[in-house]
Protein backbone atom coordinates (compact mmCIF):
# COMPACT_ATOMS: atom_id res chain seq x y z
CA UNK A 1 0.00 0.00 0.00
CA UNK A 2 2.43 2.59 1.15
CA UNK A 3 4.38 4.80 -1.20
CA UNK A 4 4.29 8.26 0.24
CA UNK A 5 5.88 9.95 -2.72
CA UNK A 6 4.30 11.88 -5.53
CA UNK A 7 5.03 10.80 -9.09
CA UNK A 8 7.08 12.99 -11.41
CA UNK A 9 3.87 13.86 -13.22
CA UNK A 10 2.14 14.88 -10.00
CA UNK A 11 5.10 17.10 -9.14
CA UNK A 12 4.64 18.76 -12.51
CA UNK A 13 0.94 19.28 -11.81
CA UNK A 14 1.92 20.96 -8.57
CA UNK A 15 4.44 23.16 -10.34
CA UNK A 16 1.89 24.16 -12.96
CA UNK A 17 -0.75 24.92 -10.32
CA UNK A 18 1.70 26.94 -8.23
CA UNK A 19 2.88 28.97 -11.23
CA UNK A 20 -0.73 29.64 -12.13
CA UNK A 21 -1.66 30.64 -8.59
CA UNK A 22 1.32 32.94 -8.11
CA UNK A 23 1.22 34.42 -11.60
CA UNK A 24 -2.45 34.60 -12.55
CA UNK A 25 -4.44 34.53 -9.31
CA UNK A 26 -2.38 36.65 -6.94
CA UNK A 27 -2.83 39.93 -8.85
CA UNK A 28 -6.62 39.73 -8.35
CA UNK A 29 -6.49 39.53 -4.56
CA UNK A 30 -6.70 43.25 -3.79
CA UNK A 31 -9.74 43.60 -6.06
CA UNK A 32 -11.42 40.60 -4.43
CA UNK A 33 -10.82 41.94 -0.95
CA UNK A 34 -12.16 45.34 -2.00
CA UNK A 35 -15.28 44.35 -3.93
CA UNK A 36 -16.09 40.92 -2.51
CA UNK A 37 -16.87 39.77 -6.05
CA UNK A 38 -15.12 37.24 -8.26
CA UNK A 39 -13.39 39.20 -11.06
CA UNK A 40 -14.39 38.09 -14.55
CA UNK A 41 -10.73 37.93 -15.55
CA UNK A 42 -10.01 35.48 -12.75
CA UNK A 43 -12.86 33.15 -13.72
CA UNK A 44 -11.65 33.28 -17.31
CA UNK A 45 -8.09 32.52 -16.25
CA UNK A 46 -9.28 29.49 -14.28
CA UNK A 47 -11.06 28.19 -17.37
CA UNK A 48 -8.06 28.78 -19.62
CA UNK A 49 -5.81 26.98 -17.17
CA UNK A 50 -8.17 23.98 -17.46
CA UNK A 51 -8.85 23.99 -13.73
CA UNK A 52 -12.55 23.14 -14.11
CA UNK A 53 -11.70 20.24 -16.43
CA UNK A 54 -9.66 18.26 -13.94
CA UNK A 55 -12.31 15.71 -12.96
CA UNK A 56 -14.38 15.74 -16.17
CA UNK A 57 -14.00 12.64 -18.39
CA UNK A 58 -11.91 13.03 -21.54
CA UNK A 59 -14.88 12.07 -23.70
CA UNK A 60 -16.55 15.32 -22.70
CA UNK A 61 -13.55 17.60 -23.07
CA UNK A 62 -12.09 17.07 -19.61
CA UNK A 63 -8.70 15.95 -18.36
CA UNK A 64 -10.02 12.95 -16.40
CA UNK A 65 -7.30 13.33 -13.81
CA UNK A 66 -8.86 12.22 -10.56
CA UNK A 67 -8.98 13.42 -6.98
CA UNK A 68 -5.26 13.52 -6.25
CA UNK A 69 -4.60 15.95 -9.07
CA UNK A 70 -7.62 17.95 -7.95
CA UNK A 71 -6.33 18.15 -4.39
CA UNK A 72 -2.90 19.24 -5.61
CA UNK A 73 -4.45 22.02 -7.70
CA UNK A 74 -6.73 23.23 -4.88
CA UNK A 75 -3.95 23.15 -2.31
CA UNK A 76 -1.66 25.27 -4.47
CA UNK A 77 -4.38 27.77 -5.38
CA UNK A 78 -5.59 28.06 -1.78
CA UNK A 79 -2.04 28.81 -0.66
CA UNK A 80 -2.36 32.03 -2.65
CA UNK A 81 -6.12 32.66 -2.40
CA UNK A 82 -8.56 30.58 -0.39
CA UNK A 83 -11.48 32.44 -1.98
CA UNK A 84 -10.39 31.34 -5.44
CA UNK A 85 -9.86 27.75 -4.34
CA UNK A 86 -13.33 27.75 -2.78
CA UNK A 87 -14.95 29.05 -5.94
CA UNK A 88 -13.12 26.42 -7.97
CA UNK A 89 -13.90 23.57 -5.65
CA UNK A 90 -17.60 24.40 -5.63
CA UNK A 91 -17.75 24.31 -9.43
CA UNK A 92 -16.99 20.61 -9.01
CA UNK A 93 -19.97 20.19 -6.66
CA UNK A 94 -22.24 20.91 -9.60
CA UNK A 95 -20.12 18.96 -12.06
CA UNK A 96 -19.69 15.71 -10.18
CA UNK A 97 -23.38 14.75 -9.89
CA UNK A 98 -23.72 15.12 -13.66
CA UNK A 99 -20.68 12.91 -14.23
CA UNK A 100 -21.90 10.21 -11.87
CA UNK A 101 -25.67 10.29 -12.32
CA UNK A 102 -26.16 12.06 -15.64
CA UNK A 103 -27.58 10.41 -18.75
CA UNK A 104 -25.39 10.43 -21.84
CA UNK A 105 -27.54 13.21 -23.22
CA UNK A 106 -27.11 15.32 -20.11
CA UNK A 107 -23.37 14.74 -20.05
CA UNK A 108 -23.07 15.71 -23.70
CA UNK A 109 -25.14 18.82 -23.16
CA UNK A 110 -23.49 20.21 -20.05
CA UNK A 111 -20.01 18.78 -19.47
CA UNK A 112 -18.07 20.20 -22.43
CA UNK A 113 -19.10 23.76 -21.57
CA UNK A 114 -18.27 23.15 -17.91
CA UNK A 115 -14.85 21.80 -18.87
CA UNK A 116 -13.83 24.95 -20.68
CA UNK A 117 -15.32 27.31 -18.13
CA UNK A 118 -17.89 28.63 -20.57
CA UNK A 119 -20.52 27.31 -18.18
CA UNK A 120 -20.08 27.57 -14.42
CA UNK A 121 -21.62 25.13 -11.99
CA UNK A 122 -22.65 24.85 -8.37
CA UNK A 123 -24.80 22.70 -6.12
CA UNK A 124 -27.74 24.18 -4.21
CA UNK A 125 -28.90 22.05 -1.31
CA UNK A 126 -28.68 24.17 1.82
CA UNK A 127 -31.64 26.13 3.10
CA UNK A 128 -32.54 28.04 6.22
CA UNK A 129 -34.22 24.90 7.55
CA UNK A 130 -31.56 22.40 6.63
CA UNK A 131 -27.96 22.33 5.65
CA UNK A 132 -26.37 19.92 8.01
CA UNK A 133 -29.65 18.03 7.75
CA UNK A 134 -30.71 18.11 4.10
CA UNK A 135 -33.92 16.23 4.78
CA UNK A 136 -35.17 19.37 6.50
CA UNK A 137 -35.31 21.41 3.31
CA UNK A 138 -38.59 22.97 2.24
CA UNK A 139 -37.97 23.56 -1.46
CA UNK A 140 -40.59 21.37 -3.10
CA UNK A 141 -41.47 19.92 -6.47
CA UNK A 142 -44.66 18.62 -8.03
CA UNK A 143 -45.20 16.97 -11.36
CA UNK A 144 -47.18 18.70 -14.10
CA UNK A 145 -47.33 16.50 -17.14
CA UNK A 146 -43.73 15.81 -18.13
CA UNK A 147 -42.38 18.81 -16.23
CA UNK A 148 -41.63 19.50 -12.62
CA UNK A 149 -42.63 22.74 -10.90
CA UNK A 150 -40.26 23.80 -8.15
CA UNK A 151 -40.78 26.38 -5.42
CA UNK A 152 -38.45 27.44 -2.65
CA UNK A 153 -35.32 29.30 -1.57
CA UNK A 154 -31.73 28.25 -1.05
CA UNK A 155 -29.18 30.06 1.06
CA UNK A 156 -25.40 30.11 1.65
CA UNK A 157 -24.86 28.88 -1.90
CA UNK A 158 -21.34 29.47 -3.22
CA UNK A 159 -21.21 30.73 -6.83
CA UNK A 160 -24.93 31.56 -6.57
CA UNK A 161 -24.68 34.62 -8.79
CA UNK A 162 -22.19 33.35 -11.35
CA UNK A 163 -23.37 29.78 -11.93
CA UNK A 164 -25.52 28.94 -14.93
CA UNK A 165 -25.63 25.18 -14.34
CA UNK A 166 -26.95 24.32 -10.91
CA UNK A 167 -27.72 20.96 -9.35
CA UNK A 168 -30.50 21.54 -6.85
CA UNK A 169 -32.32 19.35 -4.35
CA UNK A 170 -36.10 19.52 -3.87
CA UNK A 171 -38.54 17.53 -1.77
CA UNK A 172 -41.73 16.03 -3.16
CA UNK A 173 -44.87 17.98 -2.24
CA UNK A 174 -46.77 14.74 -1.94
CA UNK A 175 -44.36 12.48 -0.12
CA UNK A 176 -41.73 14.14 2.13
CA UNK A 177 -39.55 11.04 1.90
CA UNK A 178 -39.03 11.54 -1.84
CA UNK A 179 -36.38 13.93 -3.13
CA UNK A 180 -35.36 14.90 -6.64
CA UNK A 181 -32.15 16.37 -7.97
CA UNK A 182 -32.53 18.68 -10.97
CA UNK A 183 -30.14 20.45 -13.30
CA UNK A 184 -31.32 24.05 -13.33
CA UNK A 185 -30.11 26.36 -16.09
CA UNK A 186 -29.67 30.01 -15.22
CA UNK A 187 -31.89 31.09 -18.12
CA UNK A 188 -34.94 29.21 -16.89
CA UNK A 189 -37.95 31.29 -16.00
CA UNK A 190 -38.75 31.31 -12.31
CA UNK A 191 -35.08 31.01 -11.31
CA UNK A 192 -33.47 33.98 -9.66
CA UNK A 193 -30.30 34.71 -7.75
CA UNK A 194 -31.42 37.13 -5.07
CA UNK A 195 -29.52 38.28 -2.01
CA UNK A 196 -25.69 38.32 -1.98
CA UNK A 197 -23.90 37.58 1.27
CA UNK A 198 -21.01 39.62 2.62
CA UNK A 199 -18.74 37.10 4.25
CA UNK A 200 -16.10 38.11 6.73
CA UNK A 201 -13.56 35.99 4.86
CA UNK A 202 -13.02 34.29 1.51
CA UNK A 203 -13.82 37.63 -0.03
CA UNK A 204 -14.17 37.50 -3.77
CA UNK A 205 -15.88 34.15 -3.57
CA UNK A 206 -19.54 34.79 -4.29
CA UNK A 207 -22.08 33.40 -1.81
CA UNK A 208 -25.77 34.14 -1.94
CA UNK A 209 -29.40 33.12 -2.05
CA UNK A 210 -31.48 31.58 -4.81
CA UNK A 211 -35.23 31.76 -5.29
CA UNK A 212 -37.39 29.36 -7.30
CA UNK A 213 -40.88 30.63 -8.12
CA UNK A 214 -42.90 28.13 -10.07
CA UNK A 215 -39.69 27.19 -11.77
CA UNK A 216 -40.61 24.86 -14.64
CA UNK A 217 -38.03 22.11 -15.13
CA UNK A 218 -38.33 19.75 -18.13
CA UNK A 219 -38.00 16.04 -17.42
CA UNK A 220 -34.72 15.97 -19.40
CA UNK A 221 -33.18 17.88 -16.51
CA UNK A 222 -34.07 15.37 -13.83
CA UNK A 223 -30.77 14.07 -12.51
CA UNK A 224 -30.79 10.47 -11.39
CA UNK A 225 -33.93 8.58 -10.47
CA UNK A 226 -37.13 10.29 -9.53
CA UNK A 227 -37.54 10.22 -5.76
CA UNK A 228 -33.89 9.25 -5.22
CA UNK A 229 -32.41 12.73 -5.30
CA UNK A 230 -30.75 12.62 -1.88
CA UNK A 231 -28.22 10.09 -3.10
CA UNK A 232 -27.30 12.38 -5.96
CA UNK A 233 -26.58 15.44 -3.89
CA UNK A 234 -24.98 13.61 -0.99
CA UNK A 235 -22.49 12.11 -3.40
CA UNK A 236 -21.61 15.64 -4.43
CA UNK A 237 -21.18 17.08 -1.00
CA UNK A 238 -19.64 13.98 0.49
CA UNK A 239 -16.47 13.35 -1.42
CA UNK A 240 -16.25 16.35 -3.66
CA UNK A 241 -17.26 18.99 -1.17
CA UNK A 242 -15.26 17.61 1.72
CA UNK A 243 -12.28 16.86 -0.53
CA UNK A 244 -12.40 20.39 -1.83
CA UNK A 245 -12.40 21.86 1.66
CA UNK A 246 -9.30 19.78 2.44
CA UNK A 247 -7.57 21.51 -0.47
CA UNK A 248 -8.66 24.94 0.76
CA UNK A 249 -7.56 24.20 4.32
CA UNK A 250 -4.18 22.69 3.42
CA UNK A 251 -3.31 25.65 1.26
CA UNK A 252 -4.30 28.02 4.04
CA UNK A 253 -2.22 26.07 6.56
CA UNK A 254 0.80 26.20 4.26
CA UNK A 255 0.40 29.94 3.74
CA UNK A 256 0.13 30.59 7.49
CA UNK A 257 3.26 28.57 8.14
CA UNK A 258 5.28 30.22 5.37
CA UNK A 259 4.35 33.75 6.42
CA UNK A 260 5.09 32.95 10.06
CA UNK A 261 8.53 31.57 9.24
CA UNK A 262 9.36 34.59 7.11
CA UNK A 263 8.24 37.06 9.75
CA UNK A 264 9.87 35.18 12.62
CA UNK A 265 13.20 35.20 10.81
CA UNK A 266 13.05 38.92 10.10
CA UNK A 267 11.56 40.36 13.27
CA UNK A 268 14.26 41.31 15.77
CA UNK A 269 13.57 41.49 19.48
CA UNK A 270 16.15 41.27 22.24
CA UNK A 271 18.82 41.49 19.57
CA UNK A 272 17.86 38.40 17.63
CA UNK A 273 15.10 37.10 15.37
CA UNK A 274 12.04 35.90 17.26
CA UNK A 275 12.41 32.54 15.55
CA UNK A 276 14.98 31.87 18.27
CA UNK A 277 12.35 32.13 21.00
CA UNK A 278 10.94 28.78 22.16
CA UNK A 279 7.42 30.21 22.33
CA UNK A 280 7.53 31.01 18.63
CA UNK A 281 9.28 27.79 17.72
CA UNK A 282 6.54 25.81 19.43
CA UNK A 283 3.86 27.49 17.40
CA UNK A 284 5.75 26.89 14.19
CA UNK A 285 6.30 23.27 15.15
CA UNK A 286 2.57 22.88 15.83
CA UNK A 287 1.74 24.31 12.45
CA UNK A 288 4.21 22.01 10.79
CA UNK A 289 2.89 18.93 12.57
CA UNK A 290 -0.67 19.82 11.59
CA UNK A 291 0.37 20.35 7.99
CA UNK A 292 2.19 17.03 7.76
CA UNK A 293 -0.75 15.20 9.31
CA UNK A 294 -3.33 17.05 7.23
CA UNK A 295 -1.49 16.29 4.01
CA UNK A 296 -1.28 12.62 4.81
CA UNK A 297 -4.99 12.42 5.64
CA UNK A 298 -6.00 14.37 2.57
CA UNK A 299 -3.84 12.60 0.04
CA UNK A 300 -4.70 9.21 1.50
CA UNK A 301 -8.40 9.90 1.02
CA UNK A 302 -7.80 11.23 -2.49
CA UNK A 303 -5.67 8.22 -3.47
CA UNK A 304 -8.32 5.92 -2.10
CA UNK A 305 -11.00 7.62 -4.11
CA UNK A 306 -8.89 7.36 -7.27
CA UNK A 307 -8.41 3.65 -6.62
CA UNK A 308 -11.83 2.58 -5.37
CA UNK A 309 -14.29 5.36 -6.04
CA UNK A 310 -15.27 5.63 -2.37
CA UNK A 311 -13.75 7.64 0.43
CA UNK A 312 -16.37 9.88 1.95
CA UNK A 313 -15.53 8.78 5.49
CA UNK A 314 -11.82 9.28 4.99
CA UNK A 315 -12.56 12.69 3.54
CA UNK A 316 -14.72 13.47 6.56
CA UNK A 317 -11.73 12.78 8.81
CA UNK A 318 -9.45 14.87 6.59
CA UNK A 319 -11.99 17.70 6.32
CA UNK A 320 -12.47 17.83 10.07
CA UNK A 321 -8.74 17.74 10.78
CA UNK A 322 -7.53 20.20 8.18
CA UNK A 323 -10.23 22.83 8.65
CA UNK A 324 -9.72 22.79 12.41
CA UNK A 325 -5.96 22.91 11.88
CA UNK A 326 -6.30 25.84 9.48
CA UNK A 327 -8.18 27.81 12.13
CA UNK A 328 -5.49 27.08 14.70
CA UNK A 329 -2.74 27.94 12.20
CA UNK A 330 -4.29 31.27 11.30
CA UNK A 331 -4.61 32.24 14.96
CA UNK A 332 -1.01 31.23 15.65
CA UNK A 333 0.22 33.09 12.60
CA UNK A 334 -1.53 36.26 13.72
CA UNK A 335 -0.10 35.87 17.22
CA UNK A 336 3.41 35.52 15.88
CA UNK A 337 2.96 38.72 13.92
CA UNK A 338 2.05 40.67 17.02
CA UNK A 339 0.42 44.00 16.28
CA UNK A 340 1.05 43.59 12.57
CA UNK A 341 -1.25 40.59 12.56
CA UNK A 342 -4.31 42.81 12.79
CA UNK A 343 -3.28 45.09 9.96
CA UNK A 344 -4.94 44.70 6.60
CA UNK A 345 -1.67 45.02 4.67
CA UNK A 346 -0.43 41.84 6.26
CA UNK A 347 -1.66 38.68 4.59
CA UNK A 348 -2.13 36.84 7.88
CA UNK A 349 -5.05 39.08 8.80
CA UNK A 350 -6.77 37.86 5.67
CA UNK A 351 -5.87 34.26 6.56
CA UNK A 352 -7.60 34.68 9.92
CA UNK A 353 -10.80 35.84 8.26
CA UNK A 354 -10.60 33.09 5.65
CA UNK A 355 -10.10 30.49 8.36
CA UNK A 356 -13.45 31.48 9.89
CA UNK A 357 -15.24 30.32 6.75
CA UNK A 358 -13.56 26.95 6.14
CA UNK A 359 -15.10 25.44 9.25
CA UNK A 360 -18.80 25.56 8.40
CA UNK A 361 -18.33 24.93 4.67
CA UNK A 362 -19.36 21.53 3.31
CA UNK A 363 -20.45 20.39 6.72
CA UNK A 364 -19.54 21.71 10.16
CA UNK A 365 -16.93 20.08 12.36
CA UNK A 366 -19.69 18.78 14.61
CA UNK A 367 -21.41 17.10 11.70
CA UNK A 368 -18.08 15.60 10.62
CA UNK A 369 -17.83 14.06 14.07
CA UNK A 370 -21.32 12.63 13.78
CA UNK A 371 -20.33 11.01 10.51
CA UNK A 372 -16.99 9.77 11.80
CA UNK A 373 -18.57 8.47 15.02
CA UNK A 374 -21.16 6.58 13.04
CA UNK A 375 -18.43 5.15 10.83
CA UNK A 376 -16.33 4.07 13.80
CA UNK A 377 -19.30 2.51 15.55
CA UNK A 378 -20.65 0.65 12.50
Amino acid sequence: MIDFTFTEEQEMFRKAAREFAEGEVAPYIPEMEETGNPPAGLVKALGEAEMMAITIPEAYGGLELGYTARLIALEEIARVSVATAMMLQVFALGIEPIIVFGTDKQKEKFLPGLATGERLATAAVTEATGGSDPTGIRTSYRKEGDDYIVNGRKCFITNSHIADTLVILAKSEENPKDFCAFIVEGTMEGFKATHEEHKVGMKGCNTGELAFENLRIPKENLLGEEGKGLRVTMAAIGDVGRGGMVGCALGLQAACLEESIKFANERILYGKPISKLPAVQNKIADMRIDLEAGRLLGYRAAAQHDATGRSSNEFAVAKYYTTEAAQRAAKMAVDIHGGYGCMEEYAVSRYLRDSAVVGPSAGTSDIMKVIIGRWALS
Partner: protein
Protein backbone atom coordinates in the same frame (compact mmCIF):
# COMPACT_ATOMS: atom_id res chain seq x y z
CA UNK B 1 10.37 23.36 -39.84
CA UNK B 2 12.83 21.69 -37.45
CA UNK B 3 13.79 23.61 -34.37
CA UNK B 4 16.20 22.66 -31.58
CA UNK B 5 15.84 24.52 -28.29
CA UNK B 6 18.68 24.30 -25.79
CA UNK B 7 17.46 24.31 -22.20
CA UNK B 8 19.52 24.37 -19.06
CA UNK B 9 18.63 23.17 -15.58
CA UNK B 10 19.59 25.89 -13.14
CA UNK B 11 19.05 26.41 -9.42
CA UNK B 12 15.81 28.33 -8.88
CA UNK B 13 16.92 31.96 -9.31
CA UNK B 14 14.73 33.01 -6.39
CA UNK B 15 16.89 30.88 -4.11
CA UNK B 16 20.24 31.66 -5.71
CA UNK B 17 21.44 33.50 -2.58
CA UNK B 18 21.57 30.20 -0.75
CA UNK B 19 24.35 28.85 -2.93
CA UNK B 20 27.84 29.31 -1.65
CA UNK B 21 31.29 27.96 -2.37
CA UNK B 22 32.87 25.91 0.38
CA UNK B 23 36.13 27.79 1.05
CA UNK B 24 37.91 24.56 1.98
CA UNK B 25 36.93 22.25 -0.84
CA UNK B 26 36.20 25.02 -3.36
CA UNK B 27 33.06 23.23 -4.51
CA UNK B 28 29.53 24.50 -4.72
CA UNK B 29 27.17 23.86 -1.83
CA UNK B 30 23.65 23.81 -3.21
CA UNK B 31 21.47 21.53 -1.12
CA UNK B 32 17.80 22.28 -0.86
CA UNK B 33 17.70 24.45 -3.93
CA UNK B 34 15.33 23.17 -6.58
CA UNK B 35 16.30 22.96 -10.21
CA UNK B 36 14.17 24.74 -12.75
CA UNK B 37 14.35 25.65 -16.44
CA UNK B 38 16.67 28.62 -16.97
CA UNK B 39 14.16 31.50 -17.29
CA UNK B 40 15.51 32.79 -20.61
CA UNK B 41 15.35 29.28 -22.09
CA UNK B 42 11.61 29.37 -21.42
CA UNK B 43 11.43 32.40 -23.68
CA UNK B 44 13.40 30.47 -26.32
CA UNK B 45 10.96 27.56 -26.04
CA UNK B 46 7.99 29.92 -26.26
CA UNK B 47 9.47 31.46 -29.42
CA UNK B 48 9.73 27.95 -30.90
CA UNK B 49 6.13 27.18 -29.91
CA UNK B 50 4.90 30.35 -31.59
CA UNK B 51 6.78 29.43 -34.76
CA UNK B 52 5.25 25.96 -34.55
CA UNK B 53 1.80 27.49 -34.34
CA UNK B 54 2.50 29.76 -37.29
CA UNK B 55 4.31 27.42 -39.66
CA UNK B 56 4.13 23.95 -38.21
CA UNK B 57 7.40 22.64 -36.78
CA UNK B 58 8.87 19.86 -34.72
CA UNK B 59 10.70 21.01 -31.63
CA UNK B 60 13.47 19.10 -29.89
CA UNK B 61 14.42 20.18 -26.39
CA UNK B 62 18.09 19.51 -25.71
CA UNK B 63 19.82 19.71 -22.36
CA UNK B 64 23.17 18.77 -20.92
CA UNK B 65 23.13 17.92 -17.26
CA UNK B 66 23.03 15.30 -14.52
CA UNK B 67 20.17 12.78 -14.51
CA UNK B 68 18.00 15.09 -12.36
CA UNK B 69 18.01 17.55 -15.25
CA UNK B 70 15.72 15.05 -16.96
CA UNK B 71 12.87 16.73 -15.09
CA UNK B 72 13.33 19.95 -16.98
CA UNK B 73 13.49 18.14 -20.30
CA UNK B 74 10.18 16.57 -19.26
CA UNK B 75 8.88 20.01 -18.40
CA UNK B 76 9.91 21.25 -21.85
CA UNK B 77 7.88 18.42 -23.37
CA UNK B 78 4.94 19.38 -21.18
CA UNK B 79 5.27 22.95 -22.41
CA UNK B 80 5.00 21.73 -25.99
CA UNK B 81 8.30 20.40 -27.31
CA UNK B 82 7.92 17.19 -29.32
CA UNK B 83 11.13 15.32 -28.45
CA UNK B 84 13.52 15.57 -25.57
CA UNK B 85 17.21 14.76 -25.43
CA UNK B 86 19.27 14.68 -22.27
CA UNK B 87 23.06 14.58 -22.51
CA UNK B 88 24.10 12.90 -19.35
CA UNK B 89 27.47 11.35 -18.62
CA UNK B 90 30.05 11.67 -15.91
CA UNK B 91 32.46 12.74 -18.62
CA UNK B 92 30.39 15.87 -19.30
CA UNK B 93 30.80 17.12 -15.74
CA UNK B 94 32.82 20.21 -14.89
CA UNK B 95 32.46 21.69 -18.37
CA UNK B 96 33.08 25.37 -18.95
CA UNK B 97 31.13 27.30 -21.59
CA UNK B 98 33.42 26.10 -24.39
CA UNK B 99 33.11 22.39 -23.55
CA UNK B 100 29.38 22.79 -22.95
CA UNK B 101 28.91 24.40 -26.33
CA UNK B 102 31.03 21.76 -28.00
CA UNK B 103 29.05 18.91 -26.47
CA UNK B 104 25.73 20.50 -27.37
CA UNK B 105 26.90 21.15 -30.92
CA UNK B 106 27.85 17.48 -31.29
CA UNK B 107 24.38 16.49 -30.16
CA UNK B 108 22.75 18.86 -32.62
CA UNK B 109 24.90 17.36 -35.40
CA UNK B 110 23.64 13.96 -34.37
CA UNK B 111 20.04 15.16 -34.39
CA UNK B 112 20.61 15.86 -38.05
CA UNK B 113 18.93 18.36 -40.28
CA UNK B 114 17.55 21.49 -38.59
CA UNK B 115 16.45 24.97 -39.58
CA UNK B 116 16.83 26.88 -36.35
CA UNK B 117 18.51 26.56 -32.96
CA UNK B 118 17.14 28.73 -30.16
CA UNK B 119 18.76 29.46 -26.80
CA UNK B 120 18.14 31.89 -23.99
CA UNK B 121 20.79 34.60 -24.27
CA UNK B 122 22.25 33.80 -20.84
CA UNK B 123 21.77 31.40 -17.98
CA UNK B 124 20.77 32.69 -14.58
CA UNK B 125 23.65 30.87 -12.91
CA UNK B 126 26.55 31.34 -15.32
CA UNK B 127 25.54 34.32 -17.38
CA UNK B 128 28.55 34.23 -19.68
CA UNK B 129 26.22 34.60 -22.69
CA UNK B 130 28.60 32.47 -24.69
CA UNK B 131 27.21 29.00 -25.12
CA UNK B 132 24.83 30.07 -27.91
CA UNK B 133 27.42 31.84 -30.09
CA UNK B 134 29.92 29.05 -29.55
CA UNK B 135 27.45 26.32 -30.49
CA UNK B 136 26.79 28.22 -33.70
CA UNK B 137 30.49 28.60 -34.42
CA UNK B 138 31.10 24.87 -33.95
CA UNK B 139 28.15 24.09 -36.20
CA UNK B 140 29.40 26.68 -38.68
CA UNK B 141 26.05 28.43 -38.82
CA UNK B 142 25.41 32.16 -38.36
CA UNK B 143 24.38 33.48 -34.95
CA UNK B 144 22.53 36.56 -33.75
CA UNK B 145 22.42 37.30 -30.01
CA UNK B 146 19.96 39.15 -27.78
CA UNK B 147 17.08 38.86 -30.25
CA UNK B 148 14.00 40.60 -28.90
CA UNK B 149 11.71 40.53 -31.92
CA UNK B 150 11.28 38.46 -35.07
CA UNK B 151 10.41 41.03 -37.72
CA UNK B 152 10.27 38.81 -40.76
CA UNK B 153 10.38 35.14 -40.11
CA UNK B 154 9.51 33.18 -43.19
CA UNK B 155 11.63 31.79 -45.94
CA UNK B 156 15.37 31.41 -45.66
CA UNK B 157 16.33 34.97 -44.90
CA UNK B 158 14.97 36.37 -41.68
CA UNK B 159 15.02 39.91 -40.30
CA UNK B 160 15.36 40.14 -36.53
CA UNK B 161 15.69 42.92 -33.98
CA UNK B 162 18.21 42.75 -31.16
CA UNK B 163 19.02 44.67 -28.03
CA UNK B 164 21.61 47.41 -28.45
CA UNK B 165 23.04 50.17 -26.32
CA UNK B 166 20.19 52.58 -25.70
CA UNK B 167 18.38 51.37 -28.78
CA UNK B 168 18.18 48.44 -31.12
CA UNK B 169 19.81 46.71 -34.07
CA UNK B 170 18.17 45.08 -37.07
CA UNK B 171 19.92 42.08 -38.53
CA UNK B 172 19.36 39.94 -41.62
CA UNK B 173 20.27 36.34 -41.08
CA UNK B 174 20.35 33.31 -43.33
CA UNK B 175 18.86 30.03 -42.11
CA UNK B 176 19.91 27.58 -40.77
CA UNK B 177 20.97 29.82 -37.91
CA UNK B 178 21.17 30.05 -34.14
CA UNK B 179 19.37 32.86 -32.30
CA UNK B 180 19.78 33.71 -28.63
CA UNK B 181 16.72 35.44 -27.23
CA UNK B 182 16.18 38.25 -24.74
CA UNK B 183 13.36 38.47 -22.22
CA UNK B 184 11.40 41.03 -24.22
CA UNK B 185 10.77 38.69 -27.12
CA UNK B 186 7.65 37.12 -25.65
CA UNK B 187 5.77 36.13 -22.51
CA UNK B 188 6.16 32.39 -22.00
CA UNK B 189 2.92 30.61 -21.28
CA UNK B 190 2.56 28.66 -18.06
CA UNK B 191 2.93 24.96 -17.66
CA UNK B 192 -0.59 23.52 -18.14
CA UNK B 193 -2.29 20.30 -17.11
CA UNK B 194 -3.16 19.06 -20.59
CA UNK B 195 0.42 19.71 -21.73
CA UNK B 196 1.63 17.53 -18.88
CA UNK B 197 -0.78 14.78 -19.95
CA UNK B 198 0.32 14.99 -23.57
CA UNK B 199 3.93 14.67 -22.46
CA UNK B 200 3.20 11.11 -21.28
CA UNK B 201 3.49 9.92 -24.86
CA UNK B 202 6.61 11.91 -25.71
CA UNK B 203 10.06 10.41 -25.56
CA UNK B 204 13.21 11.51 -23.81
CA UNK B 205 16.41 10.01 -25.17
CA UNK B 206 19.56 10.03 -23.09
CA UNK B 207 22.95 10.22 -24.79
CA UNK B 208 26.34 9.65 -23.26
CA UNK B 209 29.63 10.67 -24.85
CA UNK B 210 29.73 7.35 -26.69
CA UNK B 211 26.47 8.00 -28.50
CA UNK B 212 27.86 11.38 -29.51
CA UNK B 213 31.01 9.75 -30.77
CA UNK B 214 33.28 12.22 -28.96
CA UNK B 215 36.33 11.44 -26.96
CA UNK B 216 36.33 12.16 -23.25
CA UNK B 217 39.24 14.54 -23.85
CA UNK B 218 36.98 16.98 -25.62
CA UNK B 219 34.14 17.26 -23.16
CA UNK B 220 33.57 18.04 -19.51
CA UNK B 221 36.40 19.36 -17.40
CA UNK B 222 38.98 17.67 -19.59
CA UNK B 223 37.66 19.50 -22.61
CA UNK B 224 37.49 22.85 -20.85
CA UNK B 225 40.14 25.37 -21.81
CA UNK B 226 39.54 27.36 -18.61
CA UNK B 227 39.70 26.19 -15.03
CA UNK B 228 38.96 27.72 -11.67
CA UNK B 229 42.34 28.26 -10.13
CA UNK B 230 41.38 29.81 -6.86
CA UNK B 231 38.57 31.13 -4.79
CA UNK B 232 38.91 33.87 -2.26
CA UNK B 233 36.82 36.41 -0.46
CA UNK B 234 36.60 39.99 -1.43
CA UNK B 235 37.83 42.24 1.34
CA UNK B 236 35.73 45.20 2.23
CA UNK B 237 37.10 48.00 4.31
CA UNK B 238 33.89 49.32 5.79
CA UNK B 239 32.60 48.99 9.31
CA UNK B 240 28.93 49.34 9.47
CA UNK B 241 27.03 51.38 12.04
CA UNK B 242 23.51 50.03 12.38
CA UNK B 243 20.96 52.73 13.09
CA UNK B 244 18.68 52.00 16.05
CA UNK B 245 15.25 52.98 17.21
CA UNK B 246 11.79 53.04 15.73
CA UNK B 247 11.31 53.34 12.00
CA UNK B 248 10.61 57.07 12.43
CA UNK B 249 13.73 57.61 14.46
CA UNK B 250 15.90 55.75 11.98
CA UNK B 251 14.48 57.70 9.08
CA UNK B 252 15.26 60.95 10.88
CA UNK B 253 18.78 59.82 11.66
CA UNK B 254 19.38 58.95 8.04
CA UNK B 255 18.11 62.32 6.90
CA UNK B 256 20.57 63.97 9.33
CA UNK B 257 23.46 61.92 7.97
CA UNK B 258 22.59 62.79 4.41
CA UNK B 259 22.09 66.47 5.20
CA UNK B 260 25.38 66.76 7.08
CA UNK B 261 27.37 65.21 4.28
CA UNK B 262 25.80 67.42 1.68
CA UNK B 263 23.81 64.68 -0.01
CA UNK B 264 20.55 66.58 0.45
CA UNK B 265 20.63 69.80 -1.44
Amino acid sequence: MKIVVCVKAVPDPKEADKIRIDPETKTLIRDNVDLTINPLDKHALEAALQLKKKFGATITALSMGPPVAGAIVKESLALGADHGILLSDRAFGGADAFATAYTLSKAIEKIGQFDLVLCGMASSDGATEWVGPQIATFLQIPVVTMVNELLHDSGERWLVKTAWENGYRKVEVQLPALLTVAREINKPKNLGFSGIIKARKKEITTWSHEELDVSEECVGSRGSPTIVADFGTLETAREVRMLEGSAEEKAEQLVEILAESGAIR
